[in-house]
Amino acid sequence: MAEKVLIIGSGPAGLTAAIYAARADLNPLMIEGMERGGQLMLTTEVENYPGFPEGIMGPELMDGMRKQAERFGTRIVSSDVTKVDLSERPFKVWVADDLYESEALVISTGASARWLGIPGESRLRGYGVSACATCDGFFFRDREIAIVGGGDSAMEEAIFLTKFASKVTILHRRDQFRASKIMAQRAIDHPKIEVLWNTTIEEVLGGDLVTGLRVKNVLTDEESVLPVEGFFLAIGHDPNTKIFQGQVDLDASGYVVTEGGSTRTSVEGVFAAGDVVDHYYQQAVTAAGMGCQAAIDVEHWLDRTEA
């Protein structure tokens, strides 16, 4: 028997959709994925989620949402979806060789850290290269490290990393940051932070461990080596939509396209919510809000199609 609704992804969007769908007696099945809880699992203190006046740790917030979804009967599969077929209903969703079928589908697969794709980067991942300052900063106590990026998260992470590192160099390809003024100033004024403007990274250097970066000044084309033991990336995120390519409309950057003001996608019965749709707000609370919308959209759509 096909499920009524299957939810792919377990960040704030997916879990809120699950809470609402479960309370509406839709008995949702969630495929939570290997990055369970989504990007908030990689954060520390979340200070802007309403209802937590003293702040809450990201992983703790997500554990709470997951428990709440389970309390109302959400069933959870802890693996990644490997393939989908949205060409007819019920929709087909595969987790390796296991096939799940569902009348309605909620895509809430979120977004994941972007990588530069330069030589040495993936080979040295976990050996000095990291896209998660909060996970790995600890291991760089009293070492010199570099971080690439120019947005608010890059500033936040650079400042966080000064708790451990002896020196943090921010590398940015332009001559000013995209980050908010207050965050940029906080980073620039920090005694342990140095900024290298107009700089791109050509290669991560090192045998078994990172020893430095080959960098280029884009104004002079001059190349040099920056000796660092750690290299962190904070250059934004890409939506996790690979498995949906060619099956549901995506925009040029790969985000799922939804019909204005709703969570409806180009495929009837498929809904989408959270960072996989939203390249603008990208907040825990906006994702949760969209997850709620998706569950309500699913409920109304099931009512109509069953009637």
């Binding site: 290997m34 990055e35 990291s130 790995d136 291991f139």
Partner: protein, 108 residues
């Protein structure tokens, strides 16, 4: 801490990995979200394979010198030791099925 895994410390580490039984050490910390995902799978594997594999959990916050000594720079990192020697290193979270595949050659 789970029932089936062993809590390792800087003091007990050398003895633990010296065992003739293959030993998987999970380097983790409270503040590491992805590490928490490994709790369930590791606990289950430790229960299923208690005769063939010892699973040790090492908190890097409380035991920084061991983490340092083995050059751990990202967590979760899991290292499989046999008679004190490093045999395999896994960096990053994995599902139970993926873990089973990675340890297969050590527990047959």
């Amino acid at each position: 801490m789970g029932q089936n895994t062993v809590k390792g410390t800087d003091a007990t580490f050398v003895e633990l990995i010296g065992s003739s039984t293959p030993t998987l050490v999970d380097f983790w910390a409270e503040w590491c979200g992805p590490c928490k995902m490994m709790d369930g799978p590791l606990e289950e594997i430790a229960g299923d394979r208690s005769e063939q594999l010892q699973i040790v959990k090492l908190n890097v916050d409380e035991n920084p010198s061991t983490a340092m000594q083995f050059g751990v720079m990202s967590i979760p990192t899991m290292i499989i030791f046999q008679a004190g020697e490093e045999k395999k290193r896994l960096v990053g979270a994995r599902s139970k099925a993926q873990l089973e595949a990675e340890i297969a050659s050590f527990v047959s």
